[in-house]
Symmetry: C2
Subunit: 843 residues, 2 copies
Amino acid sequence: MQHIDYAPMVVIEQTTPMTADVYGGRAKCLQRLIRLNMPVPQTVALSFDAVLDIAKGNEPDLAQVLPHFGDNPLLSVRPSSASPDWGGPGAVLNIGLNDKTFPILKKKLGPSAACRLYLRFIHSYAVHVARLDADIFDVIDDPDEAAIQSALVAYEDEAEEPFPQDVARQLVDVLSSMARAWEGTTARLLRQAKGAPADAGLGLVIQAMALGVGQKECGSGVIQFASSGTGLAGIRGRYLSQSQGREALDPKARALYLTKDSRGPSLQERCPDVFDELIEHGKLARIRLREEMSIEFTVDAGKLAILDAVRINRSARAAVRIAVDLAADQVIPREDALMRVDPKALSELLHRQIAPDAKRTILAQGIAASPGAATGRVVFTANDAHAAAARGEAAVLVRRETGPEDIRGMHASVAVLTERGGITSHAAVIGRGIGVPCVVGASDIAVNPRKKTLMGLNRRVIREGDIVTIDGTAGQILAGEVETQEAGLDDSVSTLLSWADDVRDIGIRANADTPKDAVTAQRFNADGIGLCRSEHMFFEADRLTMMREVIFAENDEDRTSALERLLPLQRADFTEIFKVMDGRPVSIRLLDPPLHEFLPSDKAGLRDLAAALNLPMSTVTERVEALKEFNPMLGLRGVRLGITVPEIYEMQARAIFEAALDCGGGVRPEIMIPLVSAKREVEIVKTRIDGVAAAVRVERGDGFSYSLGVMVETPRAALRAGEIAMYCDFLSFGTNDLTQMTYGLSRDDAGRFMSSYVQQGVYEEDPFHKMDVEGVGELLELGARRGRKARKDVILSICGEHGGEPDAIRFVRERDFDYVSCSPFRVPVARLAAAQCVLAVKN
Amino acid sequence: MQHIDYAPMVVIEQTTPMTADVYGGRAKCLQRLIRLNMPVPQTVALSFDAVLDIAKGNEPDLAQVLPHFGDNPLLSVRPSSASPDWGGPGAVLNIGLNDKTFPILKKKLGPSAACRLYLRFIHSYAVHVARLDADIFDVIDDPDEAAIQSALVAYEDEAEEPFPQDVARQLVDVLSSMARAWEGTTARLLRQAKGAPADAGLGLVIQAMALGVGQKECGSGVIQFASSGTGLAGIRGRYLSQSQGREALDPKARALYLTKDSRGPSLQERCPDVFDELIEHGKLARIRLREEMSIEFTVDAGKLAILDAVRINRSARAAVRIAVDLAADQVIPREDALMRVDPKALSELLHRQIAPDAKRTILAQGIAASPGAATGRVVFTANDAHAAAARGEAAVLVRRETGPEDIRGMHASVAVLTERGGITSHAAVIGRGIGVPCVVGASDIAVNPRKKTLMGLNRRVIREGDIVTIDGTAGQILAGEVETQEAGLDDSVSTLLSWADDVRDIGIRANADTPKDAVTAQRFNADGIGLCRSEHMFFEADRLTMMREVIFAENDEDRTSALERLLPLQRADFTEIFKVMDGRPVSIRLLDPPLHEFLPSDKAGLRDLAAALNLPMSTVTERVEALKEFNPMLGLRGVRLGITVPEIYEMQARAIFEAALDCGGGVRPEIMIPLVSAKREVEIVKTRIDGVAAAVRVERGDGFSYSLGVMVETPRAALRAGEIAMYCDFLSFGTNDLTQMTYGLSRDDAGRFMSSYVQQGVYEEDPFHKMDVEGVGELLELGARRGRKARKDVILSICGEHGGEPDAIRFVRERDFDYVSCSPFRVPVARLAAAQCVLAVKN
């Protein structure tokens, strides 16, 4: 590599060596525009080092700079940091105006324009450089020379020194003011919050003013060639005669359209030559700068000057469209298009969102648990949600927390709000799974299910039937109906994702529990189902009763009989899922939750249950009570049920095998055992399931194959993955439970202090949201290594909320996992993130 | 080492090389008796290999054996396995009796004795060798020759062949019958249950009969020189004229005492020479065999023969006494005495036990959670236990499960029984801590607290006031009063433990929460307190109310005021504990449990609370409800409270520091932070506590020092021990919680399936009972290594139920831990186990 000594200050010319990490992005961009022969006024760039030196109090050597701008120059100074996102001091224009240059300008532009520029410079200098209060100056619409005099006096009174008349002095003061502003604590914190490194530097760009004000056609404007909102191609922007900077964009300004427009006059009509030239420059910039640029331009006596160009702002939707269009036009390779879209932004596109400029009356703030926005009437029970859905009304289900019995109600609602719970609470997981906007852990609110009221901020009470809007993307509960905009999943997204699929080398599956979920998984082109929670099927009303009969069976015979009635229903579910997935793999997790989750928790439910089972209420109450656990998460669930009540797993295995046969050849089901902590658990369950398979093969006279795996979700299973892998074909790390156990932290209870923990920096982020690489990650790594060492071909995956998180995907891809599995609605995000992992390593 | 070829069959002589792992323990012991010149009849030993060969169907080469026993020999065969505990086939006597030797014997012993012996041999051979039914023979008190003839006929009828007359045939059949019995499945399972390896071998010993029957003084007996029950020195045993084998021990036999006895005739009087000789042999055996032996002897026409000697059976108490006495007599070194006592047996001695031969009517079986036995009247609430104690009545507290509010009731009870819970449930931990017998997880019973009844096996109902006995050692609930015996903690135990203290190189501390516990810890000579759970002090009635005020405080001011009233009480507790411990270290764990544990769970309690706090019932109910957690074990507790409600830890730290100053110099408290999962938690709490220390130093004008440590009880804390150690002086691994989280298994809920899990061999043992070396152990090892690497002088320990478990002690000692801490009542066990670790490595 060639070594280049970069000058601290340099005139930008076509061959000037210029990199963004020395002079900043703006300087670099200007150099590229100059190289493209665009009419950029004379520009000098100050490097980060030069500016830092100024900030330290050393005066810059302007003798090197000023001569380049001729006699009596007027100048602008603009910031140029490595990234435009990091902010920086505002531009200062018209430097050089003083009592000596004012008359020259007056002669050139006329007194009115000259007065306006001089007064504007005095104001701007006073506020931004001398740090005076803006209101020491009178507001004057059409200044004359008297106004200038009174401004100069006001300045001198306040600053206790006369307004500087020396152009070098003015420039030095502007430069050092901007340099010091960059080093201020607030500015530093703000940009670090946006991802800037601690030592991020500031460059500055000094440019000869193209005035935009004067005798013939003068003015300034901004043009871009695609929509910031949609990314669709089309000229956008404004032009304002007799203006500078970004004045044309002021909504109050009487700016012109750029292209011919029925609504009013346009630049295209007013100055067709300038317009054509601008269009040509725009095309060239897009191709050569490989980006949709917004160009700042000035017309000076009919002559075009290009002052600056920046990447256009863009919504998530526009970002996708622009990237895809640039690649489609072969301006950039597809790989670049893939890298240019933030996977997290993609998830916004999958859901209806609050319109960006909609007015929000915030009732309460909670955890943004499932993205998207929806408006509806408040209901407090799953049944009421159903009733509302039956009437065709949009319902927002509000609960203290949700449980399995609420799942159908959630399906029937347009949004869900819970007082308790964290990012992986029941409501959050289900909400994401079915794509319903959801806010949880809204500890500001108080839900009173009996009175059917909800108290929000300022003790404002919301009653059943009141209309609210839930913003699951921002975690807000809003009063009344709020304007929303459509989901933005269009052809550009699917194009981008198809490119991502070509690139990625790790599988992306979906967590899908029902045929409906499976359809969503297929729609998002998941590689299969990585986690089908078989128990979710038991919560349908008719099955719930049978499941309860299983639980309450007095003897094996009763239990077997209840299970026999469940079998065809469960088989039908699996058949449908297999059919939907059309040959893509489906990994089914056997029954996992503690049995009491299937039991009612209130008096009415208990009464119903007693009636259904024909048992005295006292017996039912007692038995339900007996099934209660102190810490159900750590209790009799998962494989522990499989060992102690083996009939349930046997029924499930049979349903899976028979469904596979019913779908004809080609279905090779994957069966997953949850909550394993010892290899012997796997050994025992495997023996039983193999037995069921053998029996089904004989009964049906037909063969099939299947694979058996373990859900690694206890730390012990990760540590003992070597011996566990000996009994199974795949290990799927359940990072939700693994996180709970590694931290000793229940996801359902964490909501109560998680925000305080993250605010205090105790945890950098909610570990249920962003995978904890140091703790949980080490267990993943250990488990994966040991599993593979014991069994070279064992399939490794993660299933759980982290499966859709880009950092987690990178982490497991680097450790040679085969696939990740996440909520269907996160599949697109994961597909893109997985592709980016590959490309990031390649580059 | 010299290589010796052991003969498959060998005549035992003074110089015969003989090891227990080739010929078995009995053969080896006989060889030692022979070497000591004792009158042992001619003996041939068959090695394990030889017997295995016979079991496989190969006939032994008796030509090598029989000549050693002369013409017409009578022989016995006895089993000789590596350990007498493993069982084995019964001895067969009088082999060689047949129609040819019978007349010779008749001449020598007279017809009556000869007939008895022959008939006995025919019976024994028929049952044990030919496997015939015993009842084919008539029962005859005084057999004559006709009886023998009819027995021989009966034999031939049933066996379909004549009774074998050839001595070689008889011997081969006996040997192969015994060899095959050893290889049978039942025998194999039985001995494996007692710890025998799968390939444990059987040796056999063929001995010339010393008949014990005949003309002059003949007979047989057994003698030992110390009590099997107490271990105290003294001759025990019986002698029966005209008898063989162990007939003298039959309670119905008219046996003689051995020493002169007012209750009847004695061997000492009948045969003083034989008696003296026996005493001499006994003394010699004790000294040279270095063990208290039981000697089987025969008198044959006034001449003593020693047939066998075995270690005497011994109770736990006797084991200690014998070992200490042998060492005190310099028969064995103290180190051997230490190795000879099973630490687990020691724990029996600390508690009153059911008398070994007491009759038990078992009402139900549960988990043996806290050893010892006690009888009392059943009560169903902590208050009733108190009332009973006030009346001076022994109460047995029966609960579904216990919680912190039951602790005082447990103190007032003689025993505790819970329907639910496992080996580390609340009741179990507290029970062991205060030494109260406790049975938990008695899933056979059904407690109905409202009706105040308890249903046991066979639906037998126990009501309040009924008398039961709890056997916490066996895990049984027994009907009525059952005879118990005193705790056996005598001078021999303290002698043994003082020797253990000289040897051990790892500290043994006690878990002690109250001054009373501290006194127990001192009584058992703990090296300090390793875990003082500070919250246990809050459950006293007056403090509970203050604690509830802290929880319900509407603002910081109210909270501070309630904490200010708690401060002096907490300080007084710590002062007293420091005083009791008299300079030994005390490690205090800051508040750990979820706050709702301090709140009432029933209506009456809620009403009381509402009254005490002067709040409406609905408010109290709602707030209590809001504090409920799904999985309290994984919720807002431990350091999470310290971070979110810092005032509590600050008050506790202040109480500790002020107490230390109140006790004068020399107290250097250790403060432990519970449930850490991230280093930043430690950093924040450390800063606050250091702040409190600085404030107290200034206020008191006096200095003190303290150390700060972390309770490592989440897998993540173990994994991140390196960075956590940077902020603390010690790491104490809380193996209870660590086990819960590593397995994903709540100790309170595990009881419901743990026994099924252990029975099916899913877990080898209850991991809360015996530390899981593979999973939890790996985390301990990782944590210890990383902690030490980051901070060389960090103190490592475990506190938790495993701290008293010998295997766990060995495990952590090998990893260079500094101390273990366990329930006070397990401290003696731990002291001995720690010494054995050192000795086991030395040898």
